[in-house]
Amino acid sequence: MKSQTGLLFALPALIVLFMLIAYPVAYTGLLSVTDAKGNFSGLDNFAAVLKPKVTVQAFINTIYWVFGSIVFQVVLGTLTAILLNQSFFGRGALRAITLIPWVVPGIVAATTWAWMFHTEFGIINYMLTGTGVLQNPIGWLTNKDTVMPVLIAINVWKLFPFVAIMVLAGLQSIPNDLYEAARVDGATFWEEVWYIMLPSVRPVITAVTLLLVIWGLNSITIIYAITRGGPANKTLITPIQIFRSAFESFQFNQAAALSVIFFAVTIVVVFIYIKVLSAQPGEAK
């Protein structure tokens, strides 16, 4: 078949796709360079959003949030996968249970955890003070030093099962012979993990990490539902800043400008990430 004929068949789908993707992007671009009345305003909106300190803080918070989450999601997820790949009684049940946090809707999880971390009524303070670990209850979600780590912990709890399931699938595709060969070669369990399991699932971890980066950069639900960016903007990440300036302050044009900047930075980050990883001399492709 000629390539033009193929194009003809694909055209309707391409047009729909183009409109679905290109239109919102283009419209955001348009919004970012106009004022509220629709008049062209050059880079005014960009200047306006970059000026306040809060924008910089939101950027820093975003990086803290994304990297803090991903490190623990990947490490905890991979360790869980390794555990779930061993054979022991009740493994099937444990695999199913592990998936629960991922299956629970984000808003439900956020609300539940918000209650559990509540300063006065939360079960966590109750248990910690009750057993004497803590003298006085901690304001987990109101203390500026604890709020971000707590939110990251909730985010890790929500997504590590995803990592675990993906890595587990990768581990299950490793032929048993390789473990046996390693055992004959004198490997201990942790040497098997390091030299056989991890290299074999590296492509999976790479792909999953990329997804986690994208999800982390886009995540709104947990933070917005629990702290809305507070206290004192300690948990304000850029997506929430955009959301709030658009739908709470109704500054659509400034929100659009911030979106464009954020989009550009995100693209750069993701590109660097892919480049760095594909440059490694990995073999298990």
């Binding site: 390789l178 046996e180 055992r183 004959v184 070669d185 004198g186 290299p199 073999e283």
Partner: protein
């Protein structure tokens, strides 16, 4: 050094017993081949020696030391797997040096030993390659090299040639044999291919349904199979087995054909006579046989014929001009006959 002694070894999976008490004594430096049909428990036994499979009963000792409860790495063995089991994300060099690296050997020592094994196996040009960029034969050599680098007490092979094409298999057979002669290390080798066993082994262990049927040198097994199973399993084309009885110092086939025996044998109501295909002679006074198929291979002619009510294979050095449907007269070499008790399957010594 590398003697292996297997005493009444048993293996069960749950209630199902796979190995029913296997005893084999392997001397240091010997090349022993475990052969038998698929599913008879060869791999299981080999894996028990390696420490990859628990030993349900009996004892396995390496170099005089019982290893039942030792993990593989404490047994000083090396194993070549049927699938080769090369680490896909390591180069040939890293694959071969992996065990030394785990043993915390120095870089220089690893390089030197890997280099030496690679030279012997002709792998020098491939050291930096990954397994997926190697041919089947090269992978096989890497698997061998990985075992050789360790200089173990015992090499274990589980059907290492079964993934290779016929020509390469013949070549690798002789390479493995040469390596054995050079290294003089004990080798235990599993195969279902009796030709592989016959051509390579110092001694063959024939297994069947979880028991040892016979242990002996290749020619021992060929010339004096201990029972009907070994008689039928060793040799290609297989030994012809005729049912009948022994009376008056002769074998009487079921259809009444009389075949003389060279020595007095007690009468027996049910016996099986074994004749290897190459032990038939053309003989104008012999037993009449109807020719079914004729297959000339050049050096010899294989003839499938109906003789004494059985389909019987004969191999003749002569070039035969007869064809299917015609008749032939043949007689077995009296001195090369095998006689078995048909009920117990055991050989009747003549």
């Amino acid at each position: 050094m590398g003697s292996v002694s297997i005493r009444n070894a048993r293996k069960s999976y749950g209630a199902l017993e796979i190995l029913h008490g296997v005893s084999i004594d392997i001397a240091d430096g010997e090349f022993v081949i475990l052969v038998g049909p698929s599913g008879c428990g060869k791999s299981t036994l080999l894996r028990m020696i390696a420490g990859l499979e628990e030993i349900s009963g009996g004892e396995i000792a390496i170099d005089g030391k019982v290893v039942n409860s030792l993990p593989p790495k404490a047994r000083d063995i090396a194993m070549v797997f049927q699938s080769y089991a090369l680490y896909p994300h390591m180069t040939v060099e890293q694959n071969m040096g992996f065990s030394l690296k785990l043993a915390r050997a120095g870089k220089d020592e690893i390089n030197q030993r890997v280099g030496k094994a690679a030279t012997v196996l002709g792998l020098d040009p491939y050291l930096k390659r990954y397994p997926r960029h190697l041919s089947g034969g090269q992978r096989q050599r890497v698997a061998m090299g990985r075992a050789m680098v360790r200089d173990p007490k015992v090499f274990l092979f589980d059907e290492p040639l079964s993934n290779l094409d016929a020509k390469l298999r013949v070549q690798m057979r002789s390479e493995i044999k040469q390596n054995h002669q050079r290294l003089k290390t004990t080798m235990i080798y599993v195969t279902h291919d009796q030709i592989e066993a016959m051509t390579m082994a110092d001694r063959i262990v024939v297994m069947h349904d979880g028991v040892v049927e016979q242990i002996g040198t290749p020619l021992d097994l060929y010339d004096r199979p201990a029972n009907l199973f070994v008689a039928g399993f060793i040799g290609s084309p297989a030994m012809n087995l005729l049912g009948g009885k022994v009376a008056d110092g002769a074998f009487i086939a079921a259809d009444g054909t009389r075949i003389a025996l060279d020595r007095a044998v007690p009468d027996s109501a049910s016996a099986t006579l074994g004749v290897r295909p190459e032990h038939f002679r053309l003989d104008p006074n012999g037993i009449p046989a109807e020719i079914l198929t004729v297959e000339p291979t050049g050096a010899e002619t294989q003839v499938l014929m109906r003789l004494a009510g059985h389909e019987v294979m004969g191999v003749f050095r002569e070039r035969l001009t007869v064809g299917p449907g015609e008749n032939l007269r043949v007689s077995p070499e009296t001195g090369s006959l095998h006689l078995f008790d048909a009920t117990t399957g055991q050989r009747i010594e003549r």
